[in-house]
Symmetry: C2
Subunit: 478 residues, 2 copies
């Protein structure tokens, strides 16, 4: 394996002519084989090489998705769903050619139900679009990965973000979904009841399946009332250890903190440069508290006490929306800020997540790797969940750097799994982390393989992702 | 279909002799073919007729479960997991004979990790055993179905209870699990990280699968700190409508109420008789609030205001543990209290769950059915989740009453599904609700069937549950 270029970058269309004809007739100008379209659709936001699909289909309804999949299924052509192209693990690579199914035009908000605290949307709606739409209802959707991702893509990768410590991830916040399966059939999973024991949890099975079992076309999501009171806080420390100890204390005390994010000194440096800010360049916690006025005051006081006990040398809280917006925009732009530290660079973002008690040891054991790396590395984390990212700022065309990054990531993942953690807290597996699946799940990979085979017997649904191929030697590469 | 007696109630052992010999040699006295053992293991707590297995195996370790399943798999013998026998939907019926695999001796608490707020246990631990064990740690496990169920059984049926409105169900509270699959292989799903995007969510797939995909032998569960302050409240109304309107208000205002339970006048009457209490015999909400002292005071004040606006004629709050224990014991014993209203009766407990905005309409539309029934019916509900139970107190040997109950339940389920709800909020499907699966899930049943077939190709894992058989006519009975 490696980072070889697309096998179809000559511009030739590898689709069977019959499929191209059927799709072109069906979709008209919404069927594209232009090179730029194709390359755009084989590219995420990370170091992975572009692997362009043979064609791009822009779908506008579930029925269209169904028909496109049916045409592809009839001819054994791969179908790769595409939302906003913000994926980090090569999820959209057309490893075996085929059709990129672009859902970004499916942006209808079908129903907002304030009385049930839920909303039904099409999969191409982005999280900003949704929250802008909700603005006047007093409700919001909390899951907030860094990019301007579509909610379909977020569900497909089981994304989370800064609010997960309080509100959960896409796992907890998808109530039900509509998916087009490998034969073109349409499934609506779950209902709108808050709980159900009626059979297998197909919603949770499809959330996180990265388009390999079905293509998510609609979602019903949980909403939350905008809290009466929101307070942010910035809290700098001398060492990362002190910051982590504070976070562990917050979680173990059961403080219902809404956000608690770590940025190390280098990340703050990158952020100051990128966002024109002047935060102290030292390990810092960015926090947010949601609740009633009295409740937030209580949370802030308790957190400040913990932070001071653990060596915080400042604790600045901010209630006004503008200061909070600056803070969280800076946090959400970290990926781009870190990338901007080096021209033409790409960020290889690691994504391990460990039990909270192992967060300190895991980060500590990783320090040596960070110190000896030949490139810039930032450390940021949704530390309340035990999840942190190293941002390895590499030249993706430099094989030595790629090899160094790969080795560093591999050591980190093995460390995290040995501590009871996971290779990916929120980015998904894609192609980038397939090689860790056996180590993390053992025989569970066989179970996943059996499910994949049962639901997609022709292996046309985003093939080559998540589940490593069986090798003749038995074990996948490690 | 119907409630026919076991096909093997003659006492004859239907196991292949080779299987009986292997299991007897392996388990010694922990392999039983006594009639009383077998009948006990084919019986839940509901109206369903006993369908005894051919033999009972008492397992003590995951490895033993694996070996038992392997022996059965080699000979195509059915395996039906058994915990405490508290199931309500015929989950433990040995419809096709086979072996009941009793996990109730697997009661080890393997590790409590207060720093990570989790615990790893064997599947036979009951919720009371767990909470008793945790007593000195300041932690508790919130999921609390009525019976003294095992946690393995609770996971297998995706159980919930009175705390779900705040703490979620087994879906949200199982971190990872160990399961023995249909070929005897052992899978450990997920890790201990709070979130992960590493592949298909096998944990959530097996939770709620009722032993049809794998047998849960170990669980890692989320724990919560015992709140600083706990306050209960009892709040009587003139009508059920007023009580429901109060609950809807509580949820829509985002009050983080820990428990909010409805008992109608008849249920209070039954409870007063059974538990020697003297609550006013009128529709009543039982509530509980968890949090800091100030937070609970705020919640109670806001809830009282909502209740009074909606016509509550009293609002009695109680902080002391004894009064709270009396209240919640009474609530947890409702099933037995209602059953005691009629000698030799069994309770047919309905279990629909609807979006909260549909709770009032759903209960209102059901009043006529309740009024015209020929037997006693109680109404209780985890109303904060939109989930309520009618307790139909029937003579299970009276075919007319069974038919009347079945028709009433059928109307109720169709009403709930039409409102976006589910046939079962927390009891599971078993055999009792299979006939509603097509109506509720449509093509989703085909997806479930494909998964079942892939993971249990010989159909030996609790066969005949959850997924209706394909009929020659296409549609299952309705």
């Amino acid at each position: 394996m490696g980072f070889h270029a697309s096998s179809n970058d000559s511009g030739s269309v590898g689709l069977p002519q019959a499929v191209a004809d059927l799709l072109a007739a069906f979709l008209g100008p919404r069927f594209s084989i232009s090179l730029s379209d194709r390359e755009h659709h084989g590219r995420g936001e990370s170091y992975h090489a572009v692997q362009a699909p043979d064609a791009v289909c822009y779908a506008e309804t579930t029925e269209e998705v169904s028909r496109i999949v049916r045409i592809c299924a009839d001819h054994g052509v791969a179908v790769i769903p595409f939302g906003a192209g913000t994926s980090l693990e090569g999820h959209v690579s057309a490893l075996r050619g085929g059709v990129s199914l672009d859902l970004s035009r499916m942006t209808r908000i079908i129903a907002v139900r304030p009385e049930d605290l839920d909303v039904t949307i099409e999969a191409g709606v982005t999280r900003h679009q949704l929250n802008n739409y909700l603005r006047d209802t007093g409700l919001f959707f909390p899951v907030d990965p860094g990019g301007e991702s579509t909610l379909g893509g977020m569900a497909a990768t089981r994304a989370s973000g800064t609010n997960a410590v309080r509100y959960g991830t896409m796992r907890e916040n998808v109530v039900s979904l509509t998916a087009v399966m490998a034969d073109g059939s349409v499934v609506v999973t779950g209902g709108r009841a808050r709980k159900s024991s009626a059979g297998y949890d197909l919603t949770r099975l499809i959330v996180g399946s990265e388009g390999t079992l079905g293509i998510i076309t609609e979602l019903t999501l949980r909403l939350y009332g905008i809290p009466e009171k929101v307070s942010a806080a910035i809290c700098p420390f001398i060492t990362v250890d002190e910051a982590i100890a504070t976070v562990v204390g917050i979680i173990q005390c059961g403080i219902p903190i809404a956000r608690v994010e770590l940025m190390d000194a280098r990340t703050i440096q990158a952020t100051n440069r990128y966002s024109g800010l002047s935060y102290k360049e030292t390990p810092t916690l960015f926090m947010e508290f949601h609740g009633s006025t009295a409740g937030v005051a209580e949370q802030v006081a308790l957190t400040r006490e913990l932070a001071e006990q653990n060596g915080a040398f400042d604790f600045e809280s901010a209630d006004d929306p503008d200061t909070r917006a600056v803070l969280w925009n800076a946090r959400h732009n970290v990926h781009y800020a870190v990338q901007a530290m080096r021209p033409q660079a790409k960020v290889w973002s690691t994504d391990v997540c460990v039990p909270i008690s192992s967060l300190g040891p895991c980060i500590a054991e990783t320090q040596e790797d960070i110190a000896s790396a030949s490139f810039f590395i930032s450390t940021v984390g949704h530390v309340g969940d035990g999840n942190f990212h190293l941002g390895l700022v590499i030249d993706p065309n430099n094989p030595d750097e790629l090899a160094e990054a790969e080795a560093l990531n591999s050591r980190l993942v093995k460390r995290a799994i040995a501590l009871g953690g996971t290779c990916t807290g929120e980015h998904g597996v894609g192609t980038g982390k397939m090689k860790f699946m056996e180590l993390e799940h053992g025989h569970g990979v066989e179970v996943m393989r059996a499910i994949k085979k049962a639901l997609d017997p022709k292996d046309i649904m985003n093939p080559g992702k998540i589940i490593p191929e069986l090798r003749s030697g038995g074990n996948p590469e490690n």
